[in-house]
Amino acid sequence: MTAPQTGFKERAAAALSDGALKIAIDRTTGTAERKRATALAAFPEFDAARERGKAIKDHVIAHLDHYLEMFERNATAAGAQVHWATDDAEARAIVTRICLDADAKLVTRSKSMLGEEIGLPHALADAGIERVETDLAEHIIQLAGERPSHIVWPAMHRTREQVADLFRTGHNPPPAAEDPGTMVQSARRELRAKFLAADIGISGANFLVADTGATCTVTNEGNAELTTTPPRIHIVTAGIEKLVPSTAHAFALLRLLVRSATGGEMTQYTTFHHGPKRAGDADGPEEMHIVLVDNGRSRMLGDEFREMLRCIRCGACMNHCVVYRQIGGHAYGGTYPGPMGAVLTPVLDGLAQSRDLAHACTMNGRCAEVCPVGIPLPTLLRAWRRRSWRERLEPGSVRAGIGLWAMLARRPALYRMASRIGVRALRLLGRRGWISTLPLARGWTAYRDMPRPPGRTFMEQYRADQARRGGGK
């Protein structure tokens, strides 16, 4: 992966000063939040469905080897070729080799976060292969030379006004008008020629169905179908946690996924790919390759992040996250943003580089509340904080501060004395109720005032009252 050049705090600061970004995020996440709430209100059995979804994923994760073998057997029987990649480099190498062996010049790609995770866009460019993103939002960010900022709406950080600018320079001829309908028509015209000319189509998979060997893709634009049907070769890249035992299980999860992601009941297109074109088929690819990618997932099986393998990539956690809604997806610096990204990025990129993410969370729990498969995201973020503390990755100043505070808190008498002195010192810093500059917590007083404490702590006043009451007897 191309590591971002700046740190989290710099990226967050840049995002916070971008007014257009905030407008774009509010529009999209606000709509998503409202539509999800409406969809849930009309789906009274949601809690039961969530329990079932969670149980399905837990069952698959507990028997992953069994279902992977079953999937490989059935996919192979259907005529697909199954490849295994232990990490991102191996996954890139497998896909690139298939493309080069086929002498491919033009590859169409339907949005896949796993493709981003393994760095496929760069690998294809390095191999000299032209890549065309076919998802409308991915088309926008390809024109902008960016990466996705959301897992469902990759271009949600851009306003429609900014998209109009991109299309004006990126489309030939430029769209005749700037209304969404005309702009979509223009993108359709640009992409249609590519769909038909592509040698290879690359897609991800929302589910891998073990008992049939099929892969399942959902879209609202139909671009995955146009990516995977006309070209000679179809390559699927998918994480091994995408397995489900059967088609019925895929549908059980799909109901949760779509409502949580877009607030719809079902996506416009839900396609199961079951091997390549057979004799007598009117269309379909001649070859189908399925690349099953581990890239840290089997390591998560055995540790405290196991529950994260339930994630079905709906994006509800980021739509409801107060931090994501202020800084957007790019600030997170990894492939996956928001709360789920803050848990996954240290798995993929290492904790030393991404420890900020686990801390950039207020622990308000809203992400876990909306997660359709019940992933305890704040608990997992706290687990990263614990690991970071144990591995001494936390800054010395934080360790010293917590250490000093804990030393006092562990000694009640000393703690009370320190509190007594502390509140008197704090009082000196303020006037008429408020403190506007705190020497050791400038982060607080840079943006808000601090209530000035009264002269005596509760414990002092309480003990004085007790003594008085005792003395009065």
């Binding site: 207020t362 503390w389 804990a406 009640p412 502390g422 808000r448 009264p454 702590t457 509760f458």
Partner: protein, 255 residues
């Protein structure tokens, strides 16, 4: 005399209440006594350990959990004017001490008798304040930990409904985090500020005279932002209003 013995309630005074707003502690004692409890304030208590826990320092957090459990072992109930600290005791203590054969069962027993104060008053004691009056409009922020870890939403509202003259106004995004997040607000002050600004705007739009919440951390954050913005909204802990203390100074006001 009532046949039912009055329960022995240990009041945990959070570190913020102890230092910044002792009146919340006294309001708690008053309400608990009105509800028929015998209240004591064990001297072995300091802080619940949440700053260590949320920083990843489990060793110190576990030590403070043991210290707190030991301090309250003689009480029938442990009550706190904070959903956040109560949530830590109810959920984190048993997890922190699960592997400690001497403390696992004690942590579970402690968690089972620990309550946030409005839920204790309503759900355990069936208490309703009598004869309280406040001519004002107020809006209520649902602090995240109390709401999501302990399910506190109906209890404070039921109690506030007993205050005559108090008109409750809806708060847009009442269940959205205010941006405090403990150490979050000092580690990421700019992000915190952006979140808190949206909260303050919503409070101002509510048009209420008073902002209420059940956690002093959130209240200090919101009150500090409202003051910096020049808003006139007064800020109180829910139980200060319930105890009839809202005729005194609000957070950041000096009499």
């Amino acid at each position: 005399m009532s046949a039912k013995p009055s329960p022995r309630v240990g009041l945990f005074v959070t570190c913020l209440v102890d230092a910044i707003r002792p009146g919340i502690g006294f309001a708690a004692i008053q309400l608990l006594e009105e509800a028929g409890c015998r209240v004591e304030v064990p001297q072995g208590q300091t802080c619940c350990g949440q700053p260590a826990l949320n920083s990843g320092d489990e060793t110190d957090a576990a030590h403070l959990a043991r210290q707190t459990i030991a301090a309250f072992e003689g009480c029938d109930h442990v009550v706190l004017p904070s959903g956040s600290c109560a949530g830590t005791m109810v959920h984190a203590y048993p997890e922190l001490l699960a592997g400690d054969p001497q403390w696992a069962a004690r942590a579970r027993a402690f968690a089972a008798k620990t309550h946030e104060i409005t839920s204790f008053l309503v759900d355990v004691m069936g208490y309703r304040p009598q004869g309280r009056r406040l001519d004002a409009s107020a809006t209520y922020h649902d602090s995240c930990a109390g709401l999501r870890e302990l399910g506190i939403a109906a209890q404070p509202r039921a109690l506030l409904a007993q205050v005559e003259g108090l008109r409750m106004r809806p708060l847009e995004g009442n269940d959205v985090c205010c941006g405090f997040g403990g150490t979050f607000c000092v580690k990421y002050p700019q992000i915190s500020d952006a979140i808190t600004t949206e909260k303050a705007e919503a409070v101002e739009r509510s048009g209420a005279d008073i902002l209420l919440a059940g956690d002093l951390g959130c209240l200090m954050n919101m009150a500090g932002k409202l003051h910096r913005r020049g808003a006139r909204t007064r800020c109180f802990h829910t139980i200060e209003v319930l105890a009839g203390h809202a005729d005194g100074p609000g957070i950041g006001e000096e009499g």
